[in-house]
């Protein structure tokens, strides 16, 4: 069916009649996301300075194998290939990473900022060919909800890390005593922000109730759907704030462990 009778013209890359600084937002996204990726990759490969007192960096949690007391299954496994540097973060960081990569918000943002598809709304694109998420490779984005399930598990783990960050080892008595340090707050704020991000995920909103056309007569589901929808409205803000907080939490623990920063005890 020749639906569009007249050949439309394509504008060249960057061509637009827009007068505003349309490039600003994608440029900002590009800089911020790239900085995060560079920092997170560097931090993940360090394999050191990821704990301080009762704190464990969120990049390294859960620590499946490792040398710190937080490790679930003991030290570095024997089967780890010799040619590959070992860092507990390498085992787990891909999962939250892929959760963000497949996130509906980030997808829209990085398609613009990293792939110029489009560079910004109503601005000409560099490539004529386009397949979107209709076929391979980007059709794989559809498995986002599986990463959501993993992210929910991570959320529980990070919550337990906050609990552990409330118990400081007292060398005088040899016992753990209750306390709150600035690091405890950093980890707690991080979990709240990650929670707002994860629980407001579009896939969460769908599986929790959005797939139903009728929620009347199901008070619990209705409530859950309303809560998730409410978080979802600010999904972009949760996404950015939790991205900063997770990197900052790692940095905080790293610098404390290196002796650059002092972790102040509040309680």
């Amino acid at each position: 069916m020749a639906d569009v009778p007249h050949p439309l013209t394509r504008r060249r890359f960057g061509a637009t009649m827009r007068r505003d600084a349309w490039w600003l937002q994608p440029a900002l996204v590009f800089v911020l996301l790239s900085s995060f990726i560079v920092y997170a990759t560097w931090a993940a490969f360090q394999g050191a300075h990821y704990t301080f007192g009762p704190y464990l960096s969120p990049f390294y949690s859960p620590e499946l194998f490792g040398s710190s007391p937080h490790a679930w299954f003991g030290p570095k496994p024997a089967w780890w290939p010799r040619w590959l540097v070992f860092s507990p973060a390498l085992l787990i960081l891909p999962f939250p990473g892929l959760f963000r990569v497949t996130c509906y918000y980030y997808r829209g943002a990085y398609y613009k900022a990293f792939w110029a598809d489009p560079p910004a709304c109503s601005v000409g694109e560099p490539r004529a060919r386009y397949r979107g998420e209709a076929s391979f490779p980007l059709i794989v984005q559809n498995i986002h909800r599986y990463f959501l399930y993993i992210a929910l598990f991570f959320l529980v783990v990070l919550l337990s890390d906050v609990w552990k960050a409330l118990w400081f080892f007292d060398s005088a008595t040899g016992r753990a005593t209750f306390g709150i340090g600035v690091g405890t707050l950093v980890l707690a704020v991080n979990v709240v922000l990650l929670g707002g991000y994860t629980l407001g995920c579009h896939s969460m909103r769908h599986v929790i109730g959005g797939y139903l056309d009728r929620l009347s007569g199901r008070p619990v589901r209705r409530r859950l759907y309303a809560c998730s929808s409410c978080l979802n409205r600010a999904h972009m803000r949760w996404a950015w704030c939790s991205l900063f907080s997770v990197a900052f939490a790692d940095l905080y623990i790293r610098l404390c462990s290196m002796g650059v920063w002092t972790d102040w005890r509040i309680l």
């Binding site: 637009t16 827009r18 386009y130 979107g132 059709i139 498995i143 769908h206 409205r233």
Partner: protein, 277 residues
Amino acid sequence: MTDTLKPDLAETGAVEETEPPRPHAEPQGSATFRVWRGDRSGGRFVDYRTAVSPGMVVLDAVHQIQAEQANDLAVRWNCKAGKCGSCSAEVNGQPKLMCMTRLSELPLDQPVTVEPMRSFPPIKDLVTDVSWNFRVKTRIAPFTPRPPDAPDGTWRIAQSDVDRVQEFRKCIECFLCQDVCHVLRDHHLHEEFIGPRFLVYVAALEMHPLDTGDRVEALRRAHGIGYCNITKCCTKVCPEHITITDNAIIPLKERVVDQFFDPLGKLLKVFSRREQP
């Protein structure tokens, strides 16, 4: 006039009811309008200088130019109240309803460009041929209600269940979202992709508590929902503030995932109580 929605149509909290931005002073004196003049064979921008006064919108200026300087300037309009969806065009490169774009929102020290929508073929000047949209609509499976609930042929629905689709029914078919969507605008995939307006339309049917139709397979194949890469440009231009991407397209994409890309979820549903969608 404020740009607010009827409260019964606004999904609580979903729509930000804001005054239109007014970064510039009310217009005074005169301003230049750079209007696209042409037809299917091509065209060019022509500058018109005309008097401007407080409260004016772009459509007023275009009408004034038409009355005083260019009697043959073609422009489509009807209600002048942002409700008929006829006066869609691109003002300074942004898809807009001309009747709802105040001159006080625009920098008048430079020429204001006014051009037709770019996703549809031009007919003359600011008028485009949007008939493709009407043909697309006929391809979407129509509303199919379940059998009536009462002997008198009527249905019972909870208000809370229809609230979700009310938002989508605010659409005035201005096609600004179709215009800005790069899948149509830059890639011209009109054959493969129905565009945001009709994804909103499918959402209104598919999520309706009475509807029994199934459009999920069509969404994936004939309607090409996978072409949307969630850039949210459509949401940004919608004059009815419909949350097109977050509330219509993404939930529909998730329904496509249910059917085609979630084997685990399908398995779970076999073992659990079959839920009525």
